[in-house]
């Protein structure tokens, strides 16, 4: 019964989405406020209905209703309770439902919090979100129904993919989806502004906090994905330039550019057309990410089973969204007001360079991700693009961006003297250079990368603090949440760069056979292999290794790397043993038994690896803090 209720709720939600889209756009176009007023209750109704469907599916998992095909495919009577909740988004249909739920949340939030915005603009924005919801809900209902029945019911389910039976998986997908789909809000506001034809900076002030929050969630989602891959895949890497990672990274790059260009357009009126384009790009890249992951066109560790019908649907949806938005842009963009003129040395120029670099990086990732598809279509053979392509180019493109960060906040709008800014920053540049040189000689290995990491982190950190200092010293000038957010995010970049470059430079990895009692040393760390024991888990049988670690000869921690064989399906999974530290992680993963009680063991020492995620956390925090700035919620009274 419950699945049918969920099914009915989804169909009703689709009807409300159609209503919201049509009423919003038609009401605004015809100037009928009472028609447009329907959009807000329609948005709230959708949230209630999609939530009901989501709860219905969750209950089917919790009560183990194997007559629902999706439940039978993705859970098992042995599955621990907590993973029955998370199994809801363990495969294609359910993750789409989660996606639809997140869209409904954003939709309802815009409907509830946009009270001060002129009705016509609000109706258009909600109308656009309504149409996007129509696309998502019909995709789910017509090609990937999570409530499909299995008759006769299965006696026992398959299992949730063991890789997903992990605490990190509980929050990684929801956060990522909130971020992905959150870019629908700046997109809808941009389209509404284009439809409105009256392109002033007000719509930007309203959309900026939404963009920042969506971006912050996306940052958190990507960060958790990276963290999960680090301890769950057993390789000890934190980023693989896998197509699906790239699919989440492209909207992030476009979103980062969007955050900066929105600030320029809102404050100075410049780059208005570019900002609209970026808002369209960020959302289109999110949808394209969905296409890449769901259609199975790319080979990736994340691909769920491929289905051409789904791929075709998303492709058409994508074409409609991007094509429609761009046609509208071409028709309306020439009416954009000219921003105020600015000199070559000005904050506008710096932010322009920021946007060019981020957009280039995004294009570079896009090309590398799609190149195998292109080559296949052009019959150039089956190729893959190696991580060095992405790694090298990304560093080349991001190095100037990181170098310019401290200059941005200190340079004045419109026009400034380079010498004035240089005078403020020169001592800190000197300090960073000195520390970089010291890093070069102190590094046990990879001196160049270590030096670059120390230099960049010091430079960005102190350059940003220099801005804080001069701002606090200037009497009577407030330090706004917007500035605090910017400072936090830039400090996050400093921490991230330090972590990424230092771990790449100084990471030591060794794969060796070890007999019980064998020891091995990496730098200050010693590993003693004490053998392997059999452990019975709730739904798996594990070989648990005992590896005693020492630092400088003192016992550090007894690590338990595991090799788990899951009861259903017989999948084998590696679970690494990690001793986390502020300055270095000690990482042990179990390979295969080699006979004679010996095991293949992977030992790693990863200096500063945690700084990567700490930096991303700071960036996300910056996004949230920026969004709290009250300035964005002040509604100008002059024009209504």
């Amino acid at each position: 019964m419950l699945p049918e209720i969920g099914q009915a709720a989804l169909l009703l939600a689709l009807l409300f989405a159609v209503l919201q889209g049509v009423a919003g756009l038609a009401g605004a176009a015809r100037g009928r406020e009472e028609l447009a007023a329907v959009t807000r209750p329609a948005a709230l109704a959708q949230l209630v209905l999609v939530l009901a469907a989501y709860i219905a599916l969750t209950l089917a998992f919790v009560m183990q209703d194997f007559s629902v095909k999706y439940v039978a495919d993705n859970s098992n009577s042995l599955l621990p309770l907590v993973y029955r909740y998370t199994a809801v988004w363990g495969a294609h249909e359910g993750s789409l439902l989660l996606w639809a739920l997140m869209l409904a949340v954003w939709n309802a939030a815009v409907a509830a919090l946009s009270g001060g915005i002129p009705w016509r603009f609000r109706a258009r924005a909600l109308g656009v979100i309504g149409l996007v919801a129509v696309g998502f809900l019909s995709f789910m209902i017509f090609t990937s129904n999570p409530f499909e029945r299995l008759l006769p019911a299965a006696l026992e389910g398959h299992d949730l993919n063991p890789l997903l039976q992990d605490p990190g998986m509980i929050i990684h997908p929801p956060l990522l989806y909130i971020g992905y789909i959150g870019f629908v809000v700046p997109f809808a506001f941009a389209i509404a502004a284009l439809l409105e034809g009256e392109l002033d900076a007000r719509w930007l002030r309203w959309s900026r906090p939404w963009t920042n929050v969506a971006w912050a969630f996306l940052t958190l989602g990507i960060m958790l994905g990276s963290w999960w891959a680090y301890y769950e895949l057993g390789w000890g890497g934190w980023w693989f330039w896998d197509p699906v990672e790239n699919a989440s990274f492209m909207p992030w790059l476009a979103g980062t550019a969007l955050i900066h260009s929105q600030a320029v357009t809102e404050k100075r009126g410049s780059f208005a057309g570019w900002t609209v384009l970026l808002a369209i790009a960020a959302f289109s890249l999110s949808l394209q990410g969905a296409f890449l992951v769901r259609s199975g066109v790319l080979t990736s560790v994340h691909s769920f089973a491929a289905d051409p019908a789904r791929g075709l649907f998303i492709l058409v949806f994508l074409a409609a969204v991007i094509g429609g938005a761009l046609v509208l842009y071409v028709l309306r963009a020439p009416k954009f007001p000219e921003g105020r003129a600015f000199a070559p040395v000005s904050r506008e120029t710096l932010l322009l360079v920021n946007n060019l670099l981020l957009a280039s990086a995004c294009a570079m990732v896009l090309l590398g991700t799609l190149y195998p598809l292109l080559a296949d279509a052009l019959d150039l053979g089956k190729v893959s693009v190696g991580p060095p392509y992405f790694g090298t180019l990304f560093i080349v493109l991001m190095a100037p961006l990181v170098f310019l960060i401290p200059f941005g906040p200190l340079t004045r709008w419109q026009q400034d003297q380079a010498s004035r800014v240089m005078a403020m920053l020169a001592p800190w540049l000197g300090l960073a250079l000195v520390l970089g040189v010291i890093g070069y000689f102190m590094a046990p290995q990879g001196p160049l990368k270590s030096a670059a990491g120390v230099f960049a982190a010091t430079w960005v950190c102190f350059g940003t603090l220099r801005f804080v200092w001069s701002r606090l010293r200037a009497n009577g000038r407030a330090f706004t949440p917007e500035m605090l957010g910017m400072v936090l995010a830039h400090m996050g970049v400093a921490v991230f760069v330090a972590g990424a470059l230092l771990v790449e430079a100084q990471n030591v990895q060794r794969e060796i056979p070890m007999h019980p009692g064998d020891s091995d040393t990496i730098g200050r760390y010693e590993f003693r292999f004490d053998g392997v024991e059999r452990v019975q888990g709730p739904n798996y049988l594990a070989d648990r290794g005992l590896v005693q670690t020492f630092r400088n000869g003192k016992p550090l921690e007894l690590l338990h790397p595991e090799k788990r064989a899951y009861a259903s399906g017989g999948q084998v999974m590696t679970d690494a043993g990690i001793h986390g530290g502020l300055f270095a992680d000690v990482f042990v993963a179990l390979g295969e038994p080699l006979g004679d009680g010996a095991w293949a063991v992977r030992l790693q020492v990863k200096p500063f690896v945690r700084w990567i995620w700490a930096g991303a956390l700071l960036m996300a925090l910056g996004g949230f803090v920026t969004a709290t700035d009250r300035r964005f919620r002040r509604i100008p009274k002059e024009r209504t």
């Binding site: 392509y389 794969e511 080699l594």
Partner: protein
């Protein structure tokens, strides 16, 4: 030039410079980092090219791990196995920890070079996460090989995961 024009000129110049720089870098980097996928038969009969057969070019070898071919001397990290595409067998040697889903009769993609004795030396081995999953590119190529031999792809092979 009025300020608006000058600003536009700056903008256009910056875009052109950035775009051409990116284009050059991207082409260079792509050329260096693209790895082609070949099956054992393609390497052995020369369709993959002389550079691949001689060991000069790094490439990806795709196929199934042949049944009964896996060997690893006790206490050693060096694994030996054969990769097959139905037409030909290729000996592979890999020193290191194999992925969790590496198994005989499962699909595999190994990256590396040919050695003079006709053995493929892998520096990276990938097996996919899902046990019924065969990478699409491998399935495509093996499908071609099977068509040639009139192997019925639909019935028994489907259980092994070739779609």
């Amino acid at each position: 030039m009025n300020p608006t024009r000058r600003r536009r000129l700056w903008f256009v110049l910056a875009v052109v410079v950035a775009a051409s720089l990116v284009a050059v870098l991207v082409t260079m980097a792509l050329q260096r980092n693209v790895a082609y996928l070949f099956t054992p038969a393609e390497v052995l009969d020369g369709r993959a090219g002389a550079d691949v057969a001689s060991g000069e070019t790094r490439f990806r070898l795709g196929g199934m791990v042949a049944k009964g071919s896996f060997e690893r001397p006790t206490g050693s990290m060096e694994a030996h196995f054969m990769v097959t595409d139905g037409d030909a067998l290729m000996p592979v040697v890999y020193s290191g920890i194999l992925p969790d889903l590496f198994r005989e009769d499962q699909s595999v993609i190994a990256t590396g070079r040919m050695r003079d004795d006709g053995t493929f030396v892998a520096d990276d081995v990938l097996a996919k996460h899902d046990e019924t999953y065969v990478p699409k590119e491998v399935a495509d190529k093996m499908g071609l090989a099977h068509e040639k031999h009139n192997v019925d792809m639909s019935a028994p092979r489907a259980e092994e995961g070739v779609r």
